[in-house]
């Protein structure tokens, strides 16, 4: 059938040859739309992800922690901006993407619908949530769309700092007072399973996966990436002498991987559907900032217009 569309053969050949697709190259409409969906969702996740941690900037427990956290949240804004720009190369504007986020048409990582309740959550988010994100993003450094792959290379460098700052917070809490240890364990208990859910449904249940693998938008399957994350995290948790909340977690000599318990997929779909603590708060926060800033953006545009006019007149 592909004979009818020779471009499609060329396109697939390029992908099979591990060449990158660039903005001006021919691409199937479905490839473009699939990328817009995935990349804008990624950008939204960076921006919405600023909220649960941003929640702790004002009350961080030391000056050092305050500065590190603020830098980290600033990085997330930078990642968002970078990813929105990369997505714009596919023929959609940032304003359109914003509107889709606010209307609920476009998604963000569902994990940010969980609340950050204590300072230890800042550590757990950095360690586990960013840790899971990195496993996924390292794989995406080889994604077939050039601007996305290059964005990932840059973003991964910063994300690994983020994960280290999160783990460093956990180390200090784990070595600290009984109350600090308890705070750390409680955060792990609440963030562990949602972190595993971040990789998405099992391969057998994943709707978007097969085509994405063929086009090399995705390079490794959800279950492969999830296993990689579990394997690296178990050892890190042992160093903390804290527990991951899974009685089925154990080393499997034969598979050379850790076995782990079944994820509560009902919870996963419930939170996606809107039954998380913060689904409404996150969007409300975003809409509020956007609305309150409307006059600023309008003024900047108006001033730029006046300036251009004056330049023309001169």
């Amino acid at each position: 059938m592909n004979d009818l569309v020779p471009e499609l053969d060329n396109f697939q050949q390029k992908i099979d040859d591990e060449q990158r697709i660039e903005p001006k190259d021919w691409m199937p409409e479905k490839y473009r739309l699939n990328l817009i969906r995935q990349m804008s969702q990624h950008a939204h996740s960076e921006v919405i992800g600023m909220q649960p941690e941003g929640n702790w900037i004002s009350s961080a427990p030391s000056l050092y922690r305050k500065i590190v956290l603020l830098s980290k949240v600033q990085d997330e804004a930078g990642h968002g901006l970078y990813l929105y720009s990369a997505t714009e190369t596919l023929g959609i504007t940032r304003a359109e993407m914003n509107a889709r986020l606010q209307s609920g048409e476009s998604k963000y990582a569902s994990i940010f619908n969980y609340p950050s309740l204590t300072w230890a959550d800042v550590g757990a988010i950095g360690w586990l949530v960013d840790g899971a994100a990195i496993v996924n993003q390292v794989s995406l450094q080889r994604t077939s769309y050039g601007p996305y792959a290059r964005a990932m290379i840059r973003i991964c460098k910063e994300e690994s700092f983020h994960q280290r700052q999160g783990y460093d917070i956990m180390v200090k809490l784990a070595e600290g007072s009984p109350a600090q240890r308890e705070m750390a364990q409680d955060a792990i208990n609440r963030w562990w399973w949602p972190s595993l859910m971040m990789f998405g449904p099992h391969d057998s249940d994943s709707v978007n996966s097969q085509q994405s693998m063929k086009w090399k938008i995705k390079r490794q399957s959800n279950d492969e990436l999830r296993q990689k994350f579990v394997d690296q995290t178990v050892q890190q948790c042992e160093i903390l002498k804290l527990e991951l909340p899974d009685p089925d977690l154990r080393w499997n000599e034969e598979r050379q991987h850790y076995d782990f318990g079944e994820i509560d997929w009902d919870e996963f779909y419930q939170v996606i559907k809107g039954n998380g603590h913060c689904n409404r708060d996150r969007i409300k926060h975003h809409v509020k900032a956007h609305k309150e800033g409307a006059w600023v953006r309008e003024a900047m545009t108006a001033y730029a217009g006046k300036k251009a006019q004056r330049k023309d007149a001169a």
Binding site: L63, Q74, A77, G176, Q180, R297
Partner: protein
């Protein structure tokens, strides 16, 4: 903690100014009008918080305590920042005008403080002066764009000017302690900076199509720990976690 002398009191004043304003600016993170402004605000907040840390750390060596004790264990009555720094962030116009007033002052102040007879203060001032130069470039640029933008933005900026105008006097007040330190070649005479500051503000307002407020008034008291009602609440939020776990490390 050792009893503070003139120098450590002076360093603490400058530290409190930076701390309180840095905390306020950081409230824009994830709340700014767009991502570009969000990133810029976080950057400026980081500069202020970094400055606060350097100054607290210096004061801590003189007072035999730690930077965190100075930031987190003192109450509002013990904070000695100038009032303008602590006011709630308001709308973007309010934060922009406040920032421009303070940046315009700081760039003059720290340029002089580089010549302080106190080597540590001079070194901190040298780093701070560099940051102030790009802060004022940004806040002046925003003043013009928002002043000469739309009718709404112009009106919001004028309102912010009116609301902040009376707080400027405190920037230029020299008390006995600072006068003594000036005579020793350590501190800067604030009053001397006013003509240049006035000129810089006038020059910017003209370009921004804004006017000097007609009504003038003066509120002061920050150096004596007599603050607005807002500072206590800000410190409650900032210090609560630190104080809830005495003696631990984070």
């Amino acid at each position: 903690m050792t009893e503070p002398d003139n120098l450590s009191t002076y360093v603490l004043r400058l530290a409190d100014d930076a701390m309180v304003l840095g905390q306020r600016i950081s409230e824009w993170t994830s709340n700014s009008p767009n991502l570009e402004e969000d990133i810029a605000n976080s950057n400026v907040a980081l500069d202020y918080l970094g400055r606060a840390r350097m100054l607290y750390a210096y004061a801590a060596t003189m007072l035999n305590t730690t930077e965190d004790d100075l930031a987190f264990m003192r109450d509002a009555r013990q904070y000695t920042n100038l009032l303008m720094h602590e006011l709630p962030k308001g709308d973007y116009a309010f934060s922009t005008v406040r920032q421009f007033f303070i940046d315009s002052f700081d760039v003059l102040y720290f340029e002089q403080l580089i010549h302080s007879g106190d080597a540590q203060l001079a070194a901190i001032a040298a780093k701070t002066f560099k940051e102030c130069q790009y802060h004022v470039r940004r806040s002046r640029d925003l003043m013009v764009r928002l002043g000469d933008g739309t009718d709404e933005s112009n009106s919001r900026m004028q309102t912010a000017l009116d609301e902040l105008w009376g707080y400027r006097h405190e920037l230029f007040m020299d008390d006995e302690l600072e006068t003594e330190l000036q005579q020793q070649g350590v501190a800067i005479t604030r009053a001397d900076l006013q003509p240049k500051w006035d000129a810089a503000i006038q020059d910017c307002l003209t370009e921004a199509t804004l006017s000097i407020p007609e009504a003038d008034w003066t509120v002061s008291g920050g150096r004596a720990g007599v603050h607005s009602e807002h500072l206590g609440h800000m410190l409650d939020d900032m210090q609560c976690l630190h104080r809830s776990h005495p003696g631990v490390t984070w």
